[in-house]
Amino acid sequence: MINLAYKDIAHSYLKFIVTAMGVGMLLGIVLIMIGVYRGMVIDAQVLLDDIGADLWVVQENTLGPFAESSRVHEDLKNTLWVNPEIDKTAALAFLNLQIKTPDGVMKRVYSVGYDPHGDLPAINPERLVAGRSIEKSHYEIVVSEKLGFRLQDKIRLGRNIYTVVGITKGAVSSGGDPVIYVSLKDAQELQFLYSNARIRNDRARGLKVDADNHLVNAVVATVVKGSDPDAVAENIRRWKHLSAFTVSDERNILTKNVIETASKQIGMFTVILVGVSTIIIALIIYTMTLEKIKEISIMKLVGLPNMTITKMIAQETVTLGVLAFIFGNLFAHAIWDKFPKRVVLEMDDAWALFSIILVASILASLFGVYKAIKADPSAAIGG
């Protein structure tokens, strides 16, 4: 038996491929959109995973440091460390800054201050693509490659000039901003920095000037092997008048409290986009089928059974779906890294989308065939 679907496609393959590409691009956009959503959720947890602590200890009654501002005293890291269940501790300072990139644009960055000589370095060594971590206590900076600096570049922050000693790839804040790393001391200075004029002014007014320079935003800790982080966190909460979160609590805070509205926004948009493109694709398939009403009428006139006609249309629909799926993935993979924030393309998402679209397309084409088959053949061909 002749494969009618193949013959029909071969007869007008250009039109078929252009349609598949158009539908594919639409699918590609949907895939990117799903990827943006996924990227957002992953971005929110990058710092958390890079730092790799088991516990996050922050100011009492706050959800800090990412969801709420939090201040604790730096020496809390020593107090915690006395607990035999605590292995390593580190004090961290977080701060939003504007930085002037080499091409002169001001960019928002998220700065992480950590003790370069401490037990828990904040930089994930896997992210270092050039140079090294911070080694000196002052004026060294590790930047994200997205900012465009090269090693040994000088950056002015506050009153001081910093030297780029390392470049990372992929380190972002919960909001997707590139991360820079400085020493804890530098971070504290940047955070509580006053201009000379302000200091003179305050002194003249008799105000206490020396701001407490030993505050940090969070102290993180790892627990010794075999201890239960939840129990340790509970203990800290009870005895130290602090808030303590395990890494999974913190993950929850990040995805629920910090990026919730933003991710809901994108999530809703994604759902709508999937719905709308399903409808559009179904309509394209439906009109494509109805366009064949003349051919279908001829096939009916010469006596082809409905089954043969339906099979042909269904095969064409599936072929179009598969081609569009391939084009869509190619398209998405060709453009995803042009987006400023993280886009995560997952094959599972692509398959799920493919199934939805395929089911909708087959239904649309069957509905089209049904209408074409019901039509009076002599009317459809005009006599």
Binding site: M1, I2, D8, H11, L301, V302, G303, L304, I381
Partner: protein, 238 residues
């Protein structure tokens, strides 16, 4: 000619539309064409020749009456004998329409062998039959061409080849020779004549050309929405 029924129609009525737009095409028309009989259908334009053929071919529904194809009563007053009327068409009837109605995305040989294949013929047999017919109609060199690449006459010949491909016992032909020159028209009609005699087929052929009438056994005409039959002795092919 035998005495077996090829095509038989009793009190066939066809009314299109209703009320103001009502068109009465046939009213209580009757006719009979036996197996081995070649009938010409002659009537002015708009008289209902195509409509009659479409009803005989189970394409459009009559308003009332009875139609037999062979010994099968296919239309009984208000219903087809089977919901799958297309099966009747592809197994019993060779239909040559007023337009060629070749499937545009199949090449000529595929168009010709499609129905035999759907009827379950093996590919070699269908291919052999198709090539025989293409050869007979002198379009063998067009076997791989698409219908859009052929002239009107070549397409019409391909359509006739297709109608004969399933070796039908009934042939309904709506002006099969209209797109052909006289020489080819005569040769097509002679061929139909041979099929009638050799294969005991019943044929109704619509034609406007008086020069083709001598090859027919019967002339059917539509007068006052009824079919009038004139029997004559045809030129037999020797």
């Amino acid at each position: 000619m035998t005495n077996e029924v090829g095509i038989k129609v009793e009190n066939l009525t066809k009314i299109f539309g209703s009320g103001e737009s009502e068109v009465r095409v046939l009213e209580n028309a009757s006719l009979e064409v036996k197996k081995g009989e070649f009938a010409a259908l002659v009537a002015p334009s708009g008289a209902g020749k195509t409509t009659l053929l479409m009803m005989l071919g189970c394409v459009i529904e009559p308003t009332s009456g009875k139609i037999w194809l062979g010994d099968e009563l296919v239309w009984d007053e208000d219903h087809w004998s089977t919901p799958d009327t297309r099966r009747i068409r592809r197994e019993k009837i060779g239909f040559i329409f007023q337009a060629h109605y070749l499937i545009p995305f199949l090449n000529i040989v595929e168009n010709v062998k499609l129905i035999p294949l759907v009827n379950g013929w093996p590919d070699e047999k269908a291919e052999k039959k198709a090539m025989e017919l293409l050869d007979y109609f002198d379009i063998t060199d067009k076997r791989d061409a698409m219908p859009s690449q052929l002239s009107g006459g070549q397409n019409q010949r391909a359509a006739i080849a297709r109608a004969l491909s399933n070796e039908p016992k009934i042939i309904l032909a709506d002006e099969p020779t209209a797109a052909l020159d006289m020489e080819r028209a005569v040769s097509v009609v002679k061929m139909l004549r041979r099929i009638v005699e050799e294969q005991n087929v019943a044929i109704i052929m619509v034609t406007h050309d008086d020069r083709l009438l001598p090859y027919c056994d019967k002339i059917l005409s539509i007068e006052n929405r009824k079919v009038v039959t004139t029997t004559q002795s045809a030129h037999l092919i020797v």
